[in-house]
Symmetry: C2
Subunit: 413 residues, 2 copies
């Protein structure tokens, strides 16, 4: 008998019919002799409708009350899924975030899980019941209702799996798993059977938004192995797990792309200590999401910093930089460039294989695609290209590393 934690997103429980399907899937697992905990999101659309009402009442709804309001969406789902299971003759009991023993901390609407006390869930499991647990919510250390922000239900599932020492954690979603690249862009993209936490993190932060980074980080921290798979079919998905030696036989796990990027470059920065920190703290205070950061010294001895960000954030970044520009001095200028995109190669295998960057740049060069900024980490190489070139770039690099080949096969590097 295995203990399986499943997570169903808002689309999976988006209608009463879909809720019945979810109940059927859970029943099947239970009939096979497993203990099951299903973490569910609010029915698709419900959360947005609640947010709309809040915004209609207030230009700036209090986050404390948003938590009270939004947590009702998941509470409705758990009751409805439980009822659908009862109708199939399956014993089931719902638990809210509070009843699941999920303790959180942090600002309202952006909770972080700090502790789990799963006694009630364990009791229900011992009684032979399926447990239906509300995703996205917990109780803050001060006793108030707290939601977990974007990707919160995934986080709940990982935390519940960790607390219950589950044998398996399945994140059921509307995609089949993690792919070597976006299948809408690269037609040869194939599903990755197994990926390490770190690769998944780099893929996620590089735009393959199957899951939020925080859930993957949480899983890595607590060693929760999980599978990303479709709620619409029974195909095996992608297992996300600790890295092991065999994984290194594949140099590049995937090629991810991120569109609608912009670049801001601040020039003429005196090369004095603290200046970079001053600029970056300005951007942090403005809560802008900076992605790539590059800095070097120009021929005139003055430094230049370049940042990329989503083009929606461009205006905010420019505004945030204004006061600091005056401090930097009269030679300082801001240059901006929109209409770029980011291409990343990710793989723990590149640690032990040299020449990955060279091969990537060569492939892009041969295709006549110009490279803008470059950053590298131990397991990732990222470049910017013209947005109009990004699809071609992804295909070229995907081919260069032989990612269309058989899963797990050692590709020539």
């Amino acid at each position: 008998m295995a203990l399986i934690v499943q997570k169903y997103g808002g689309t999976s429980v988006g209608s009463l019919d879909r809720i019945r399907n979810v109940a059927q899937r859970i029943k099947r697992l239970k009939d096979e002799g497993n203990q099951v905990v299903a973490v569910v999101s609010a029915m698709g659309g419900v959360t947005n409708k609640l947010i709309e009402m809040a915004n209609e009442l207030s230009s700036d709804p209090a986050e404390r009350e948003l938590d009270v309001l939004l947590s009702t969406g998941e509470q409705q789902s758990i009751a409805l899924v439980s009822m659908a299971l009862h109708e199939l003759g399956v014993e089931a009991a719902s638990v809210t975030g509070r009843q699941a023993g999920i303790t959180t901390t942090g600002n309202h609407t952006r909770g972080r899980i700090t502790d789990m006390e799963p006694a009630l869930m364990q009791q229900y499991l011992e009684e032979g019941k399926v447990v239906i647990c509300a995703g996205f919510q917990g109780i803050r250390d001060d006793g108030l209702i707290h939601t977990l922000g974007r990707g919160g239900s995934d986080l709940t599932a990982i935390a519940v799996a960790a607390a219950l020492k589950a044998d398996l954690c399945q994140i059921l979603t509307d995609v089949d798993g993690v792919y070597t690249s976006d299948p809408r862009v690269v037609k040869d993209a194939r599903k990755i059977p197994e990926i390490s936490y770190d690769e998944m993190l780099e893929m996620a932060s590089s735009g393959s938004k199957v899951m939020q980074s925080r859930s993957v980080e949480f899983a890595k921290k607590y060693g929760v192995v999980f599978e990303v798979r479709s709620s619409l079919n029974d195909n095996p998905g992608t297992i996300v797990t600790e890295e092991h030696d065999q994984m290194e036989s594949v140099v590049i796990r995937g090629v991810s792309i991120e569109r609608s990027q912009a670049r801001v470059t601040v020039t003429g920065i005196p090369d004095t200590p603290g200046m970079s920190a001053r600029i970056l703290s300005c951007l942090a205070e403005a809560e802008t999401n900076i992605d790539m950061i590059i800095s070097n010294i120009a021929h005139d001895g003055l430094a230049r910093h370049s940042f990329t960000m989503h083009s929606n954030d461009l205006g905010r970044v420019q505004a945030a930089l204004k006061p600091v520009l005056a401090e930097i001095g009269e030679n300082s200028q801001v240059e901006t460039e929109a209409g770029i995109a980011k291409l990343s190669c990710v793989g723990i295998g590149m640690r032990s294989h040299s020449g990955v960057a060279a091969k990537m740049f060569e492939a892009l060069g041969a295709a006549g695609i110009n490279i803008g900024m470059i950053t590298t980490s131990e397991i990732k190489i990222a470049v910017t290209v013209e947005e109009s070139e990004i699809e071609r770039a992804a295909n070229v690099v995907h081919n260069a590393f032989g990612l269309e080949g058989t899963p797990g096969k050692l590709n020539p590097s």
Copy 2:
């Protein structure tokens, strides 16, 4: 500075515009220097929609899960009303049933309040905040979410007022107060400025369904004086309070009517101990709502019991009686009569004034209206008449007791 508890029903918070109105009303009270706790129901229609979903998923939704589901309606309201208050610059904090410290007992969906621990509400009040409290819900002694059944939000308001030792409790509803009779039937009906708990109870159970009896009983038990008034205007309503001597100057407080009644008579019952109990326990087990009960001995020495009930319950009562009839003996028969209505005169003044029944029967007789069953309590006389005669009967009796007169005026008896 007074502490005022208000209750707003589902109609009063039935749209975002109405929620804004409620916020305005609360702000006004607060601006006048009062501390305010507002108990709110789910937005009109929300609870029914949730019940519909439950019924679509299950022919018999588990009551535990219904509680989880339905309690979300009030939780949404408290957040939205709080946001509307913030928008008006009023500090406000929502509390769920759990946070309000409402402890309950009993079956799911039919909770009874057993204890109140209002520390959090008191803290918010001391901080100068308006408290918006979810009606209709509490936490059962076993820690599970519990709803309070019909009239649950009124009950919450009374309990909160008792726990906080509020100076005033206002039940804001879609009627102006309690009337001497249904104004749609008796055009001279007038609003009653003050009524005793017992009179209110008799009026409620006699069909003037301004409030459920349980809330009035709870208020009586804890000595909570409350006012029933309209949420749509600022007219004074009806104060419900302990009886005092002055109240007796009015013999009859009101005339209430109840339509769609039916009568069931069981005849040929041997006059032996335990037989009545047997019959009534059968009806109780079938959860039928029996109203009037009359019993007497016929000329043959056999007893006959008559009951009245809502005509919707007639079939259920007949079914419940079937097994017991066989036990009673072969002479036993069941007679039924539908199409009747009930007329009740209520008033604590009738205790000290004789001849009330005579006056009532005289008035009906003079109008040629036939009386069926009669029951009396210390402060109520109730009769059944043909349903087609009920409106005329109500007017005749209302006139006979001079109820159209000035409020509080001593009427001739």
